[in-house]
């Protein structure tokens, strides 16, 4: 641990991603938490919202009163950060935003996929938070934009194929079929996310036109056919990518691509075949952790590559990714604060 930890604040600390950030920062050797904001729970203890943090001696404060800190994490809904980015950058040396507000590289894309952008001048200053694809640019970054969880799962699954030229913009259709848990919707869910309606579902919730397609396009250079299903878990995002390479590809090529990409990555695990119960990536094997599992299978009948990718949307898909990126930006140990290995057995985390 450094002599004196950096100070950090979490804007949107009462939300799901904000709570996860607080948990990670509280256990992080290089940070101490200065402020956690919430408009609805101002002055209440953090533990009254996040029962796992009952021993944290901290109360929510108003997001209007930003304290000066080294690093500010914003975990607010889309649109908030782009409005307050000046204030955020004034309050902190480093800003890590978990929303979609600075994820896309160009203002046009916000016109196409969102309702435009309020502060487009910051877009080129922002760095995409996923170290596996953007590590070098993160070092010293001042504005970091956390990836979307479904996009993260997809990008982690397909990037090695793109890098090896097995997959490219000309390749033909790539189908990405995603299954996600209910925490993806955040703490303020409506009727569709009540327990009686949301339990036990396999529910197509974004059959087409999911906004994460924009991010995948921007960082992989691919148009994908993207469909998202809600399933009965709270944490987790799992992407199954069906790829049809132009030319012949062998299992050796695939192992080469994936080992090359991820062998040195501290959070990536290749899980592909083998014996036992857990033969391919699955979300419950990474629940609570910052790990990403990736695996594949080659369909001899039609030269299809099926790629599986699994993450915890609250971790690798948001708060964990943000802390990982901050570690890289600030020169800390990459795994600092992210060492938890996950549980076995575990039900439906």
């Amino acid at each position: 641990m450094s002599a004196s930890p950096l100070t950090a604040s979490v804007i949107g600390g009462s939300g799901f991603a904000g709570g996860e950030l607080l948990r990670l920062l509280a256990g992080h050797p290089e940070f101490e938490i200065t402020q956690a904001t919430s408009r609805s729970y101002t002055n209440k203890t953090v533990g009254s919202v996040h029962p796992n943090l009952r021993s944290l001696d901290l109360r929510f404060s108003d997001p209007a009163d930003l304290e000066s800190v080294d690093v500010l994490f914003a975990a607010t809904p889309h649109g908030v950060s782009m409005e307050r980015i000046d204030a955020f950058l004034e309050a902190a040396d480093t800003v890590v935003d978990l929303s979609a507000d600075f994820r896309l590289p160009e203002a046009d894309l916000y016109d196409e996929w969102y309702e435009g952008h309020d502060a487009p001048e910051y877009l080129e200053r922002a760095e995409y938070a996923l170290p596996e694809i953007n590590r070098e640019n993160l070092e010293g970054a001042e504005l970091i934009a956390g990836g979307g969880c479904n996009a993260t799962a997809t990008i982690l699954g397909l990037k090695p194929l793109v890098d090896e030229g097995i997959l490219g913009p000309e390749t033909g259709e790539v189908v990405v079929d995603v299954k996600v848990g209910s925490s993806e919707g955040g703490a303020g869910g409506g009727a569709a996310s009540s327990h009686p309606e949301r339990s036990g579902v396999v529910r197509p919730y974004a059959p087409i036109s999911h906004r994460h397609e924009a991010e995948i396009g921007a960082y992989l250079g691919l148009d994908v056919s993207f469909t998202v299903h809600a399933v009965d878990m709270v944490r987790g995002a799992s992407a199954t990518c069906h790829v049809f390479p132009d030319g012949p590809v062998s299992k050796g090529d695939l192992w080469g691509a994936y080992r090359g990409a991820y062998e040195e990555e501290p959070f990536m695990r290749l899980v592909s075949g083998g014996g036992g119960v857990y033969r391919y990536p699955e979300p419950k094997a990474v629940a609570g952790t910052n790990a990403g599992e990736v695996g594949f299978e080659l369909d001899p009948s039609n030269e299809r590559v099926v790629v599986f990718s699994a993450i915890d949307n609250m971790m690798k898909g948001s708060a964990g990714q943000a802390v990982h990126a901050a570690n890289v930006a600030l020169g800390f140990e990459e795994t600092a604060g992210l060492e938890f290995q996950g549980l076995h057995p575990v039900g439906s985390p």
Partner: protein, 56 residues
């Protein structure tokens, strides 16, 4: 009870008597939300999409 054709799926939609312009009804076949544009004769159009955040 009068009928009108659903603009989404083409099925017949039965309409209640005191139909009013602007009312939103759903098609029993495809579930589309339909706005009543006119009442005599009844004309339906797709209702403006509720930008409801449906769980994401």
């Amino acid at each position: 009870m009068t009928q009108a054709e659903c603009v989404e799926c083409g099925a017949e939609v039965s309409l209640h008597d005191d139909l009013e312009v602007g009312e939103i009804i759903d098609c029993g076949t495809c579930g589309a939300e339909l706005e009543v544009i006119d009442v005599s004769p009844p004309v339906l159009d797709r209702a403006p999409e509720l930008e409801e955040d449906w769980g994401e």
